[in-house]
Every structure is written in structure tokens, then in C-alpha cells.
């Protein structure tokens, strides 16, 4: 029974990891002409197109979710920081 539970969990993990990897690979390699010329960066240079638009918002939210869930990090370092409840 225990083994079955662990096998299922391992399978779920494997499927999850594989799906993300396959999706990333397909997305990255599926486009034939990735990237832009240096003079085509006007939109990407806008503040709202930065990967982290507002680092203060992101930091505060990360701190809340770090305190309330078992997962942290991913986008950046998970780190330590507080004995939060």
C-alpha cells in the first residue's frame, strides 16, 4: 500500500517534470526565428515588459507566500529570512 502510494507520487513528479521540460523545449525550439535585432528592442525595454515589473510587490508577495505555503523561490532564491507564522 505504502509502496503504491510512493510509486504514484514518483510517477506524478516524473510526469510534472517531463511536461515542463518538454513544454519549454518545444516552446524554445519551435519558433524558427527567435530573437530581435538591437533596434527592435523598443517594446522589450519598457518597464512593464521587465520580467519582474515591480520588485517591491514581488518581494512582499514572496514573503507572504513563504510564510503561508511550503514552497518558496523558483523565480529567484528561496532563502531563509524569518520564523514566520
Amino acid at each position: 500500500m505504502m509502496n503504491l502510494k510512493h510509486n504514484n507520487r514518483a510517477k506524478t513528479k516524473l510526469i510534472g517534470l517531463s511536461s515542463v521540460l518538454i513544454f519549454a523545449l518545444v516552446t524554445l525550439t519551435g519558433c524558427s526565428d527567435l530573437g530581435v535585432k538591437p533596434w527592435e528592442r523598443d517594446l522589450l525595454a519598457k518597464p512593464e515588459m521587465q520580467l519582474i515589473t515591480d520588485p517591491v510587490d514581488a518581494g512582499l508577495d514572496d514573503h507572504i507566500y513563504f510564510s503561508k505555503e511550503a514552497t518558496s523561490g523558483g523565480r529567484s532564491f528561496g532563502g531563509g529570512g524569518c520564523g514566520c507564522n
Binding site: G35, R75, N85
Partner: protein
């Protein structure tokens, strides 16, 4: 005769708002200048108010983050965050059909929880100050690096860390490879000391001060304990086209040391078919048995993170991300996050939705049965009833409004509402009629001003 007084009208509602809001925030309105100018500071300020329903955690959190832009794309950032927290937090015990008494974690006094109520420790109170700094600079034409350090201090917890990252640009800077490393050292010294894992919470009633102090001290292993955390992050950022950028990260986190929560306990529930069936198991002194929780002393986490940002033809921006995490505690989690920035001239509205789900840790137990308690020699070596290690879903809905006063200044306000739902073993006997998995409702509002 009437005297007309010349009033210089604000050129726009925005300018008027600046003056009004800067006044409210106690700031003087700075002269406008574009962001990122060499020799200038860019400053982000915000205040967050966080509140949980049912008199649980309440927090106020001001933040100031300042970046000095230097020549040759070098920059120095310094950030200060303060936290003031009060309120109550679940202690891990199950609700009961009887009134329950708990010794405070400090050993100073006790508190009661009414029948049918979710046991909350209402002594939660802390103030935290955190300071971090990051230096970033290019290394030749094709590389860039960052180096950072931070310290966080609260009454019973300190954390110090260093981090660094290096980026390699490829393909006309359309591809960026990132590698980062972070090391953090944390120390916890709770009032009352570190409880011995899976030992019984002592009770003072009916005992002399000396006897209770001896019993309480015997339940403690020392005044404090430590843990270290090392994070490795490998990432690829790829420009897809003129309006789309994508990031993909893998991160590994290794923690070792004291990861137990010294304030959390577990109820012991009688599993015999006696008169007490389903009620809280009681010891010879007539008090219920609660054990201090115990977690493993190491944890390894793997996370995959994918994010894509895309600007639509009308200038609106879609930002979606997915994170998958798995660890050797048996927890697997999925996080989906989506923002849509709806551009409205000089202002914008940004709805936000986030969904998180996690499976329970291998050692998560809502309670221990009396047979698992085994007369004081528990048959398990690790157990925690902390709902944050159980099966858990969080759903968050939010909305942000931002107003660009000029090229350099922005005001914003955002509100987020989160509902957490837990599930798991529903108990037996009398316990089955108790709500073992109450929801957590949290609401936060943040006001920000960047200049």
C-alpha cells in the same frame, strides 16, 4: 474692491495628486527626471497592510528600496523592510468538544480554547527589520554579475546571507544564461527555549513553581538552534520576438539544521474503544497530552519555473508563470500566476490571479493516536500538524491601479485576497464532528510611490 489672488493651477490632476499624496506620505515632491539616469537615485517606497480573518495575523510592512545608477551600467541597490506582526496563529492541536488548556511556549502561564474552537496561540507578536544590498555590474561585453548580502533580525530569529550571480549574454543578447548561488544562516532562539521533539507539553496547574520549572526545563534541549540554506539557480532568458520574452529556471535548495517550528504541537487522540473514545487522550494529571512537533533536519527542494511576458498590439501586457516544486519531504506543488496589465493612457489597471496547490509532507499528521504515542515512546520520529505542510490549496485574486505622474514618478495601490483550504484525514469518533481543516482568509493592501 476685490483682490484676485493668483493661484498657480496644477498643470494636471496628476500633479495635484502628487502634491496631495506626497504630503500624505510625508514626502516632498521631487523634481521629475527620467529613471535610470547616471548619478541619480531611483527610489521605490511602499506600505503593506496584511490582515487575516478571525483575529489571526495582522501585519504592517513598510519598504524602501533605493538604487543608485552609476556609469557603465553599474548599479547599487539598498533595501530596507520592517514588519510588525500581532495576532493569533494555529498551534497545531485539534479542536475538541471540551475546553482545552495550553501552556504558553515561554512557559509563562497558559491559555484556554473553547470547545469546538480551532486552537490558536494568541501570543504571536514580533517586529522584524531586514536590510539587503546588491551590487550589479557588467563584466566585459558578454557577462554581467551581481553580489549581494542581507540581514534580517527579529526578537527570536536572525538570518544572514550572501548571494551572487553571473549572467552570460549570447546571440546578440537575445539569450541570457544565468547562474546564481545564495547562502543563508538562520538562528532561532524562542522565549522558553527549544522544546524536545515529540515530548509532552508540561502543565503548571497543581504543581509548585520549582516542580513545574524543573519539568519545563527538562522539556527543553537548549536556548537556541540554527539552520543553513544553500540555493543554486540556473536560468535561461530568451527573447522570442519584439513583444515576447520568456524565462526558464531550475533551482535547487538544500537546507540543514533546525527546521521544526518550536511553537507547534500535536494532539494525542485516544484510539481505544473506551469512554474517552474520540476525545483527547488524558494523562494521569487529568490534562490532555500534546506533543511538541518534530521535522526532519534536512530538506532538499527542486523547482522549475517558467515565465512568459507578451505585449499585445494595443500595449497591454500579459504575464503568466508556472512553478513546479518537489522535495524530499514528499511535498509536490504547482503554482500558476497570471497578471494582465491594461494600459489606460498614463494609468493602468492590473488584475491578478494565482492558484497554488501542494500535497502533504510524508510526516504530516493532523494528530497522533494514543497507539502512535505509545505511552510516551512515540512510534514515529517525525510529525507535524502544521497545516502549511498538509494538503493545501491557495487561491488569490488581486487588482492593482497605477498612475504615472511623469517619467519618473508613479503612484500605485493594490489589493489582494487569498483563500487557503486544507484537507486530509477527517478523524474518527468525537473528533469527526470537529472542523479539523478551517480555511484561512487573508487580505492585503499596498500603497506604493516610486520616484
Amino acid at each position: 474692491m476685490t483682490t484676485k489672488k493668483q493661484i498657480s493651477k496644477p498643470s494636471s490632476i496628476g500633479a495635484a495628486l502628487t502634491v496631495a499624496t506626497c504630503g500624505l506620505l510625508g514626502l516632498s515632491a521631487p523634481v521629475a527626471s527620467a529613471k535610470g539616469q547616471v548619478g541619480e537615485w531611483d527610489v521605490d517606497t511602499a506600505v503593506l497592510f496584511y490582515s487575516e480573518a478571525d483575529d489571526r495575523v495582522q501585519a504592517a510592512e513598510p519598504v524602501v528600496s533605493a538604487t543608485l545608477n552609476l556609469e557603465d551600467e553599474r548599479a547599487w541597490n539598498i533595501k530596507f523592510v520592517a514588519d510588525t506582526l500581532t495576532g493569533a496563529t494555529p498551534n497545531g492541536a485539534t479542536p475538541s468538544d471540551e475546553i482545552q488548556t495550553f501552556t504558553r511556549p515561554s512557559g509563562e502561564g497558559s491559555y484556554n480554547v473553547a470547545a469546538g474552537e480551532n486552537p490558536l496561540d494568541d501570543t504571536f507578536h514580533d517586529t522584524r527589520g531586514a536590510l539587503s544590498t546588491t551590487w550589479s555590474a557588467p563584466l566585459g561585453r558578454d557577462y554581467a554579475y551581481t553580489a549581494g548580502a542581507y540581514g534580517s533580525i527579529e526578537y527570536d530569529y536572525t538570518s544572514f546571507g550572501v548571494n551572487g550571480s553571473i549572467a552570460r549574454y549570447l546571440n546578440n543578447k537575445n539569450t541570457t544564461l544565468n547562474m546564481g548561488l545564495s547562502l543563508s544562516m538562520d538562528s532561532i532562539g524562542p522565549e522558553g527555549g527549544i522544546p524536545n521533539p515529540l515530548t509532552r507539553m508540561p502543565f503548571e496547574a497543581g504543581k509548585s513553581d520549582d516542580d513545574f520549572n524543573k519539568e519545563f526545563n527538562a522539556s527543553r534541549s537548549g536556548p537556541d538552534d540554527t539552520k543553513t540554506i544553500m540555493d543554486l539557480l540556473l536560468g535561461v532568458t530568451q527573447v522570442i520576438n519584439r513583444s515576447t520574452i520568456m524565462q526558464f529556471n531550475y533551482s535547487l535548495s538544500m537546507a540543514s539544521g533546525y527546521m521544526t517550528d518550536p511553537f507547534k504541537i500535536l494532539s494525542v487522540i485516544d484510539d481505544n474503544a473506551g469512554a474517552n473514545y474520540g476525545g483527547n487522550f488524558k494523562d494521569a494529571d487529568g490534562y490532555n497530552i500534546y506533543l511538541y512537533e518534530a521535522r526532519p533536519d534536512s530538506r532538499m527542494k527542486h523547482a522549475l519555473f517558467w515565465q512568459t511576458k507578451h505585449m499585445l498590439a494595443n500595449g497591454d501586457v500579459m504575464d503568466g508563470s508556472y512553478r513546479f516544486m518537489t522535495d524530499d519531504w514528499g511535498i509536490t506543488s504547482h503554482t500558476l500566476d497570471f497578471h494582465y496589465r491594461w494600459m489606460l493612457g498614463s494609468s493602468y489597471l492590473e488584475p491578478h490571479v494565482r492558484y497554488y496547490m501542494q500535497s502533504e509532507a510524508d510526516f504530516y499528521k493532523r494528530y497522533l493516536t494514543s497507539s502512535e504515542y505509545n505511552g510516551g515512546s512515540p512510534v514515529v520520529t517525525e510529525a507535524s500538524a502544521d497545516y502549511r505542510l498538509g494538503e493545501l490549496n491557495s487561491a488569490t485574486l488581486g487588482l492593482k491601479w497605477g498612475y504615472k505622474l511623469n517619467d519618473d514618478q508613479e503612484l500605485s495601490i493594490r489589493a489582494e485576497y487569498m483563500k487557503q483550504s486544507s484537507s486530509g484525514d477527517s478523524g474518527f469518533g468525537k473528533l469527526a464532528s470537529q472542523d479539523l481543516y478551517p480555511d484561512t482568509d487573508a487580505f492585503w493592501v499596498q500603497v506604493g510611490y516610486n520616484f
